[in-house]
């Protein structure tokens, strides 16, 4: 990777964060039942993102891993204001985008793109591949001629190995396999050549051969063009390979965050350790299906008191129920939230 790092364009100051998130909160209010309305008290809500702070430097890839349903997608969408957070700051390139009006936000949209997690839900089934990928170009009035538009769509499709592009351009989503739809979602995000991409499980349906190509593409874009990524994934092995840093989420909070290698090779938080121990081995001679962290996943409406992991944590002690651990730096930017880390 040493060679790739030296390719970073001159002028990109990699010490300045491109994105700084401060105490971001996104709750989904629930409709209240009659009984609880009569009783009063606070409105119940799904606390999907519950106070998250981090920074991503220009050209870095920040990996986000964590439990299914812990708030990763909600956070990713909030970063682009596709869902409105209740609190916090999202400072992108020096501007708090939560303070911008829709008009002020529009030019920024060109620089910030998202690869949606579910290619089955996120695509209009009535548009063909060409229209789906060209749509962001049209919304931003970026192309001057049809030929130019076609050319840019072709290029984006080729980048994600949908080749020959003309074979796929005029197909509809239902005429594509799961992994092909996923690659269309990536092409749509790339077509604007953004500075910042939230990639929400962009390769979960791809086999290793195509996955490798796309992850290497992300790596190349980040190191050569200074594109910054928030890469949400369940795949710790590839996260370790391509990310500069990894953040681990549990129930709406970061429980650990630090340099990718440090998080994977010397995890500090019990939840991170459990995640790593559950990674399956690709060896039929070594069965490794085991239950780590028993107990039902608590819901994000009434998260447990104190440390949110305490009902499932093998190391929990009385203080864990009472006091919420803060995310503290244990050196080298490796942060963890656990009383006993």
């Amino acid at each position: 990777m040493a060679t790739a790092a030296t390719c970073v364009e001159v002028g990109i100051t990699s010490s300045e964060p491109l994105l700084k998130v401060v105490e971001l909160v996104k709750h989904f209010p629930l409709r209240r039942g009659l009984l609880s309305a009569l009783r009063g008290g606070p409105q119940p809500a799904v606390r999907a993102v519950d106070g998250v702070s981090f920074e991503v430097k220009r050209g870095e890839i920040l990996g986000i891993v964590g439990e299914s349903g812990c708030g990763k997608t909600t956070m990713g969408r909030a970063l682009l204001r596709l869902t409105e957070p209740q609190k916090g700051q999202i400072i992108f390139d020096g501007t708090d985008i939560l303070r911008l009006s829709p008009q002020e936000l529009k030019p920024l949209r060109r620089k910030m793109q998202i690869v949606f997690q579910d290619p089955y839900e996120s695509m209009n089934p009535r548009l063909n591949v060409f229209r789906i990928v060209a749509e962001p170009l049209r919304l931003q009035n970026l192309t001057h001629s049809r030929d130019e538009e076609i050319e840019r769509v072709r290029r984006a499709l080729a980048e994600v190995e949908m080749t020959p592009p003309d074979e796929y351009m005029y197909r509809y989503p239902h005429e594509l396999s799961g992994g092909q739809r996923q690659r269309i979602a990536i092409a749509r995000a790339l077509v604007l050549e953004p500075d910042f991409i939230v990639a929400d499980e962009p390769v979960s349906m791809l086999d290793v051969s195509i996955r490798g190509g796309i992850l290497n593409l992300m790596l190349r874009l980040s190191k050569e063009k200074g594109v910054t990524f928030v890469y949400i994934t369940h795949d710790l092995a590839t996260a370790r390979h391509i990310c500069d840093r990894i953040g681990v989420m549990y129930l709406g909070k970061f429980v650990e965050e630090g340099p990718a290698d440090a998080v994977v090779t010397s995890p500090l938080h019990p939840y991170t350790k459990a995640l790593l121990s559950a990674v399956l081995v690709p060896d039929p001679g070594r069965k490794s299906l085991q239950t780590v962290l028993s107990g039902e996943v608590p819901n994000a409406i009434h998260p447990p008191s104190g440390c949110r992991l305490h009902p499932r944590c093998p190391l929990a002690r009385p203080i864990c129920q009472e006091q919420e651990p803060e995310l503290v730096d244990k050196g080298n930017g490796h942060r963890v939230a656990c009383h006993f880390a």
Binding site: E67, T163, Y170, L206, R211, L215, D235, T238, H241, V279
Partner: protein, 333 residues
């Protein structure tokens, strides 16, 4: 005779640009109670093969030939009415790719399972409800949550509901298409364990479609590797993983990311997936194969048993049997 047999199954999609040869002469067999894993590149025809077995093809999908036999009974030429009443969902069911997002958001989860029972069997609603509760219990969800809506469930729980629906009519064979791709590794292990326990307990046979070789390693007895609409290698998981004989399989096994390995470039298999409207001549893998020669470009290799149950379609299987790392140089390049 195997419990479930597929012979030379061929299914093409008609499109404006020509026929997409998604399933092109696929053969395999499964013994009762065994699990077969099917792996292969995105778009190589795995889901198409599954929907062909269940006869749930879109309008432009056309079965061109081949046979599917269950207990010796031929399924493809059975009248649709009979297939629907006796086979689909009752004897063969499926967990669809992306299904947990397809749960109806405005219906309670328990009712959706009940519905699956009521549409396929002639039972009273009370009986269906009792069975739906049992099924929830079986997949590890408290039946008290019968009246919850899908959005009140976590991803892992929704996936377990989908599994419960596939088991609703006590099938003999379950086809699971990427059942855990959307889940974190801890929940994935829980869901796989639930499937595995049920399989053992109920004596189910299973086809597990996934791109994740580690899932197959943990769940399946046998594995078949698909490339461009065809099966290129088949054998016990232990044999195929430890001694892949097809260059594509060898590339897959080699490129599988390993969390224990240090930071390095991600390995992949160079080249692009083939065009299924106009697949390469001879061996379909030849444009990407480091061993390809004139014969590979001209002549399609036959699918042949090499040892025991281990079979492969490659002119040069003996090169890999000799243990040569054919991908080494490509990777350095």
């Amino acid at each position: 005779m195997a419990f479930f047999e597929v012979k030379e199954l061929t299914m093409y999609y008609r499109t404006l640009r020509g026929q997409v040869k998604a399933v092109d002469g696929v053969s395999f067999a499964i013994e009762k109670g065994k699990a077969l894993g099917i792996a292969g590149e995105s778009g190589c025809g795995k889901s198409s093969m599954a929907t062909t077995l269940l006869r749930l093809l879109p309008n432009n999908g056309q079965i061109m030939g081949g046979q599917v036999l269950m207990d010796g009974q031929s399924l493809l030429d059975m009248p649709e009415e009979q297939f629907r009443r006796r086979i689909r969902w009752k004897r063969i069911s499926m967990i669809f790719q992306g299904a947990m997002n397809a749960l109806n958001p405005v219906h309670r989860v328990g009712h959706q399972i009940m519905e699956a029972i009521l549409t396929h069997e002639d039972v009273s609603p009370t009986e269906a409800r009792r069975r739906a509760e049992d099924l929830l219990n079986m997949v590890g969800i408290n039946p008290k949550r019968f009246d919850d809506f899908p959005h009140e469930f976590s991803g892992g729980m929704k996936q377990r509901v989908v599994i419960a629906m596939a088991l609703a009519c006590n099938p003999d064979l379950v086809i699971a298409d990427e059942p855990t791709t959307a889940l974190d590794v801890i929940v994935q292990a829980q869901v796989l364990k639930a499937i595995d326990d049920l399989r053992q307990r109920l004596g189910l046979s299973m086809i597990m479609i996934t791109h994740d070789l580690s899932v197959i390693a943990q769940m399946c007895d046998d594995v078949a590797i698909m490339y461009a609409g065809r099966i290129v290698e088949h054998g016990s998981a232990v044999d195929v993983y430890s001694q892949p004989l097809h260059p594509y399989t060898a590339g897959l096994v080699r490129a599988f990311p390993n969390i224990a390995a240090g930071r390095s470039t991600i390995r992949s298999i160079p080249g692009s997936p083939p065009n299924l409207i106009d697949p390469p001549t001879g061996c379909r893998f030849h444009p990407r194969c480091p061993l390809a020669d004139g014969r590979c470009r001209a002549e399609e290799p036959a699918f042949q048993v090499v040892a025991g149950r281990h079979a492969v379609a490659c002119h040069k299987a003996d090169v890999l049997a000799g243990g040569v790392d054919i991908w080494q140089q490509r990777q350095l390049a």
